[in-house]
């Protein structure tokens, strides 16, 4: 029976439960709804939830667990090296899938694989049957139990609300689940990588030169990538922080409301433009422009359009609104009383800003800059186009270098063999990236939270 039919059947059954439950509640009080504890709707909803949620939950769980259980069962019966078993098992699965679909097995039924495939297919069919039976039983059980509960005194609303509350809690747990998922996805694969590749060689290696099939001998050093990342981020911040900060100061302290209401949204347009657009802008506009000045025709420092400077400048432009709107919020949080105190002593606006407002806002602004740095480090599309492809440790900002994020993309796209170090290294890079940005975010949040406390 196809899955969608089962779900539709369950829904129909649960809806029937809803109407029966509601009717039973009304009947229990001879049609006088005032005698019920809850509105009739809640009695119906109670039956619906008890019927559907439990059966549907079982269905999802069964679907998720069945392949692993069967795989484990069949695998336990196989003999040989662990690697060989895995291989055999995947062949068995393929055979079973074909058997179920077309009715004929591609393998000889007498061979280990062929016999396994037949057994496997049988177990899948049996499992499916058991599942349908179990789901129907649970649905019936929920249906009858909840229907019996319905009476005039039964607190249906409380029961329904408890379920809804459970759903709400479940939804907020998704956030934790996502973090856990990220953590697991990174950690398992990173461990896998370090099993076949020496950790010290990754962490302290100064050369990045992956080669297909190079195994543990190929140089996969983190340092050149980290250097490229930090170099580009530093240039980006050198552009974004002064411009963003001064723009925020002007908007918060000098601008008329009209000017502010026009300029602020315009600057924020820069933040709404997807990073791939900035990538193209770097590669096709800014890079060639820089090349004219610093390339072989000019100063001769630059070889191609992609460089640390190209990516850094464009990333700086991208981060201007980020820095300016965060700083704007923070400057506005400085109490007016401090400004008045300064003006009252005969300070000019700029003296007040430089000597009173900015020092007071400093922790918050530092937090904003750290957040911007975390953004810069995690930016991907822009550096894929703007920065270059070769890992390099150089102090010349006009050379092409590459970053952690760009290499995650290049190592994980295309035909990837997830047993090779040059592919798995992407997870180690991902872990590095995640830990660095997580650390910066936590730090920034702490600083900003402390700053806000100070003025509330």
């Amino acid at each position: 029976m196809p899955l969608s039919w089962i779900v539709l059947g369950l829904l129909a059954f649960a809806m029937a439960g809803f109407f029966l439950g509601r009717a039973r509640a009304t009947r229990a009080v001879q049609g006088d709804a005032r005698k019920l504890h809850s509105l009739p709707f809640y009695y119906g909803a109670h039956v619906f939830l008890m019927t559907f949620v439990s059966a549907f939950g079982l269905l999802v769980f069964w679907m998720a667990a069945q392949p692993s259980v069967i795989g484990w069962w069949i695998g336990a019966g196989l003999e040989g090296e662990p690697g060989a078993i895995t291989l055999q098992l995947s062949e068995i699965k393929r055979g079973a899938a074909q058997l179920l679909e077309t009715g004929t097995s591609p393998y000889d039924a007498a061979s280990v694989v062929g016999a396994g495939a037949v057994r496997y297919a049988g177990m899948v069919q049996a499992g499916h049957l058991f599942m349908v039976v179990a789901v129907v039983l649970v649905a019936l059980g929920g249906f009858f139990v909840s229907l019996r509960q319905v009476s005039g005194e039964f607190r249906a609303r409380n029961s329904v609300e408890a379920s809804v509350r459970g759903l709400l809690i479940g939804a907020s747990l998704i956030a934790i689940l996502t973090t856990v998922g990220i953590f697991l996805a990174l950690i398992f694969n990173t461990i896998e990588f370090f099993r076949i590749y020496p950790a010290s060689q990754f962490l302290f290696g100064t050369v990045w030169q992956p080669s297909s099939g190079g195994g543990a001998m190929q140089p996969l050093g983190l340092l050149p990538l980290l250097w490229g990342t930090l170099f580009i981020s530093a240039i980006a911040l050198a552009v974004a922080v002064p411009i963003g900060l001064f723009a925020a100061i002007y908007l918060a302290e000098y601008a008329t409301p009209r000017f502010r209401n026009t300029v602020k949204p315009l600057l924020e347009v820069l933040a709404g433009i997807p990073s791939i657009v900035y990538g193209l802008f770097a590669l096709l506009t800014v890079g060639p422009m820089l090349l004219k000045v610093f390339g072989s025709g000019g100063l001769g420092w630059m070889q191609g359009a992609s460089s640390v400077m190209t990516a850094g400048l464009v990333m700086g432009i991208m981060l201007i609104p980020f820095v300016s709107s965060l700083s704007d919020d923070i400057i506005n949080a400085v109490p007016q009383a401090l400004r008045d105190g300064s003006y009252g002593l005969g300070a000019t606006r700029s003296e007040t800003i430089r000597q009173v407002v900015l020092p007071a806002a400093l922790p918050g602004i530092v937090g904003a800059i750290i957040l911007a740095a975390s953004r810069a480090i995690g930016e991907t599309m822009l550096v894929v186009f703007g920065a270059g492809a070769a890992g390099r440790l150089s102090a010349n900002p006009f050379e092409a270098m590459t970053t952690v994020t760009a290499k995650i993309v290049s190592q994980l796209t295309g035909d990837s063999d997830f047993t090779q170090p040059e592919v798995l290294v992407a997870y180690a890079l991902g872990t590095t990236l995640f830990l660095v940005t997580l650390g910066l975010n936590l730090l920034a949040q702490k600083i900003v939270a402390k700053y806000r406390e100070q003025y509330t």
């Binding site: 401090l338 105190g341 003006y343 009252g344 005969g346 300070a347 003296e351 009173v356 020092p359 007071a360």
Partner: protein, 265 residues
């Protein structure tokens, strides 16, 4: 209509420091101060009293042009400081505020050290040539602010760490450090407890020796205690202005009497 009644002054030896003539203040459409004329004397404490929203704080803020920072605020009429119009185009409000200092309702020390709080004014106005000069100015200001003894051992700790009363005296010391001629105080004790209030009031009385002090207050007792001259504002009008003693014992205008006896307010 409600022309101010400028009473015969009994303290004739004091010069007129500030002279306001037909001052009008508008907040957008709202007419906040209506045709106020008043003479404020040197080396005297003048109290502005009146119910909330009567315009006394607004008028006070006109005297050092703090209202300039509010975009919708418009001032008409003349306010003369030593005979010079402070709303003249050539006057830089920065210069004016150095001579007309201000202390605010809520103590607002900068998030800096006690020393830097007091040194802020002298520094921006370039009053000290050397570090020793500055030290001297800071010490003298803190002494005048009657807080020197309490803070002399912790000058480099943040001013925000002081108690409310201490903070307010620090703010007074900060205002005094720029050697102003007039000191404006906008309800300086409203955020303080009675003991701190008493200390600040005592300080105000001492400051009278050197400055013209204008204080806005909600408390009639305070006005009676610290001021020599009192002005009563009501609905943007200056209703009555005269010697404090006369205002409190023998008010001329019925509205003043109602306020003093607690019928409006």
């Amino acid at each position: 209509m409600f022309d101010a009644k400028i009473s015969e002054t009994t303290v004739t030896q004091n010069d007129i420091k500030i002279a306001a003539r037909k001052v009008q203040v508008y907040y957008g459409e709202a007419h906040a101060i209506k045709d106020v004329s008043v003479d404020i004397l040197d080396k005297t404490v003048t109290a502005f009293i009146g119910p909330s929203g009567c315009g006394k704080s607004t008028f006070l803020r006109c005297i050092n042009r703090m209202n300039d920072t509010i975009p919708i605020c418009r001032v008409e009429g003349d306010i003369l400081l030593d005979g010079e119009d402070i709303y003249d185009k050539r006057v830089d409000p920065v210069n004016l505020r150095a001579r007309v200092g201000m202390v605010f309702q809520k103590p607002n020390p900068f998030p800096k050290s006690i020393y830097d709080n007091v040194a802020y004014g002298p520094r921006i106005h370039g009053l000290a040539r050397t570090k020793a000069d500055l030290d001297e100015i800071v010490e003298r200001a803190l002494r005048r602010g009657a807080i020197w003894e309490e803070v002399k051992d912790r000058l480099h700790q943040p001013g925000t760490g002081l108690s409310g009363g201490q903070q307010q005296r620090l703010c007074i010391a900060r205002a005094v450090a720029t050697e102003p001629e007039v000191l404006l105080m906008d309800e300086p004790c409203s955020a303080l407890d009675p003991i701190a209030t008493a200390q600040v009031e005592e300080l105000i009385d001492e400051l009278r020796q050197s400055y013209s002090v204008v204080i806005v207050t909600h408390s009639m007792q305070q006005a009676a205690r610290v001021s020599q001259k009192t002005a009563f504002f009501h609905l943007g009008n200056l209703v009555e202005y005269g010697d404090t003693e006369q205002i409190f014992t023998n008010p001329v205008d019925p509205r003043t009497e109602s306020y003093i006896t607690g019928r409006i307010g």
